[in-house]
């Protein structure tokens, strides 16, 4: 590896992260607008034309807000928890292939890398909730730790079917294996359903947003956070949503592939945004699960069904050989 390669990798990394952060900033405007229109409201309208500058105003406000640190909190962990979350979510981007031959790092263990980082991301919520030294935060952290461990298993198992069909864990190879519209969502419909619901649980979104259920826990693990640190948690959640949507698109919906009249990266982004819209739609539609129902669903239904899916995929693969 010479100096040129290193400079090229640096440029790629900075470019992708910068563009990604702008997307993360504006997706919350998209969310507010989408949910507002579903509820016959207008959403933010004041800042800029139809509120397009609202995210910038919000960021400036959060940046200059007072950073309140609870007296009895565990300070080092309180400081480091949101940073763990953001780093884990943003570094998952490194292996996502945006178009043919373009990903920051073309890892052979791409899927495992993303699963590993999503499990590290869980520490942000658990440690943040614990370090705040408040009952609500603590309950949020405790719920989150159990929820994330349970649903990670189901999510990993649901992707095994994809790995078996493409014969690789490299995300670029998985997309190539779905060339000519042979998307894995058709043969792996069971795996996709489990993956999508487990991804909702992993990113703490409605209907599984129990760690931050505002009607019972104020704001869950983030209750004691304010200003910039709260914004980091917020960013980590939305970045996680992007990464999970991108993983769903790559593993089940053919990644960047699409009819030739649009460039591949546009197809990729359109598919990702369709998933993100689905997240918002679910948030505007469904009520929250009860906690014991959530755990029962994960352990008693998803894990057995995901295992059955693996066996079935293997059988069909042998029979078709």
């Amino acid at each position: 590896m010479n100096a040129n390669d290193i400079v090229w990798i640096l440029i790629k990394t900075i470019g992708v992260v910068a563009v990604f952060l702008i997307h993360v900033m504006f997706v919350q405007l998209f969310e507010r607008k989408a949910i507002a229109h579903m509820q016959s409201r207008m959403g933010p309208m004041r800042v800029g034309w139809h509120g397009v500058l609202q995210p910038i105003a919000d960021s400036i406000k959060l940046f200059f807000k007072e950073d309140i640190i609870p007296t009895n909190s565990d300070k080092p962990i309180f400081f480091i928890a949101p940073i763990i979350g953001v780093i884990a979510a943003v570094s998952s981007l490194a292996v996502i292939p945006l178009w043919e031959g373009f990903s920051i790092a073309n890892l052979n263990v791409g899927i495992l890398y993303i699963l590993a980082l999503s499990s590290v991301g869980a520490y942000a919520v658990i440690l943040g909730g614990w370090a705040s030294n408040s009952k609500y935060s603590f309950l949020g952290g405790l719920r989150s730790s159990a929820q994330v461990i349970s649903y990670e298993i189901a999510m990993g198992l649901s992707l095994v079917g994809v790995m078996m069909m493409s014969g690789s864990t490299n995300l670029s190879d998985i997309v190539s294996a779905q060339a000519e519209g042979r998307w894995f969502v058709v043969p792996q419909i069971m795996g996709f359903a489990i993956f999508f619901i487990a991804a909702l649980a992993e990113t703490n979104r409605v209907p599984f947003d129990l760690p931050e259920a505002e009607t019972e826990l104020v704001s869950g693990f983030a209750t004691e956070y304010s200003g910039m640190r709260w914004a980091l948690f917020f960013m980590a959640e939305y970045a996680g949503m992007f990464v999970m949507s991108a993983l769903a698109v790559v593993c089940f919906f053919g990644g960047w592939s699409g009819p030739g009249f649009l460039p591949p990266v546009i197809w990729f982004l359109m598919k990702v945004y369709a998933f993100i819209f689905l997240y918002f739609w679910i948030r505007a539609t469904l009520p929250r699960y009860r906690y014991d129902q959530l755990m029962g669903l994960g352990w008693k239904i998803f894990i057995p069904v995901a295992l059955a899916n693996i066996v079935l995929t293997g059988l069909i693969k042998i029979l078709l050989k």
Binding site: I80, L107, L127, N170
Partner: protein
């Protein structure tokens, strides 16, 4: 020093420091956080050693499952009241002595270990051409099939044992 040696030096210093922090922190949550850092460093070291599958497994299983289990138990027991001034047992100087002597022994014995030139078939190129996961899988499902099955039984026993032990007694 060459670049790989510099990288190794960083990893060695960081990992030793993190290990020391793990065993000397009063608060178990701080220990767990240091352990998380240590696991990430170990995964990095595995990447140097051409074992990317194990690096991913290290993070997924150790950091994602085992360490979260520790955190979960620490939180469930709610040990804030238990944090006392004394964190070591009475015999800790002896333990420190044993640790230092053991380290000195091992370093003296293993300090200049080298391998025999009779090398196996899995060279860096061979693993690269097939991918780390494929190579591990092939060996695991042919040569080590029986141990693999036994490992699954060990895990089953662990699941049942944990449920039986931690469940409430109803009489």
């Amino acid at each position: 020093m060459t670049t790989p040696q510099l990288f190794f030096a960083y990893f060695a210093v960081a990992m030793t420091a993190l290990s020391l922090l793990i065993v000397t922190r009063k608060n178990p949550v701080h220990s767990v956080l240091c352990m998380l850092g240590l696991f990430i460093h170990i995964a990095g070291l595995y990447l140097f050693l051409n074992a990317e599958f194990l690096a991913a497994i290290q993070i997924i299983v150790y950091a994602g499952a085992i360490l979260v289990l520790f955190l979960f138990v620490i939180m469930m027991l709610n040990l804030r009241k238990e944090e006392t001034v004394k964190k070591y047992q009475a015999q800790w100087p002896v333990s420190a002595g044993i640790g230092i002597i053991l380290a000195a022994f091992l370093v003296l014995i293993l300090g200049n270990i080298t391998v025999l030139p009779a090398l196996g078939e899995y060279s860096i190129e061979a693993i690269k051409s097939e991918g780390s996961m494929m190579t591990v899988g092939k060996v695991l499902y042919t040569e080590f099939l029986l141990p693999f099955e036994i490992a699954s039984i060990v895990l089953l026993v662990a699941i049942i044992g944990a449920v039986v032990l931690a469940k409430k007694r109803t009489e």
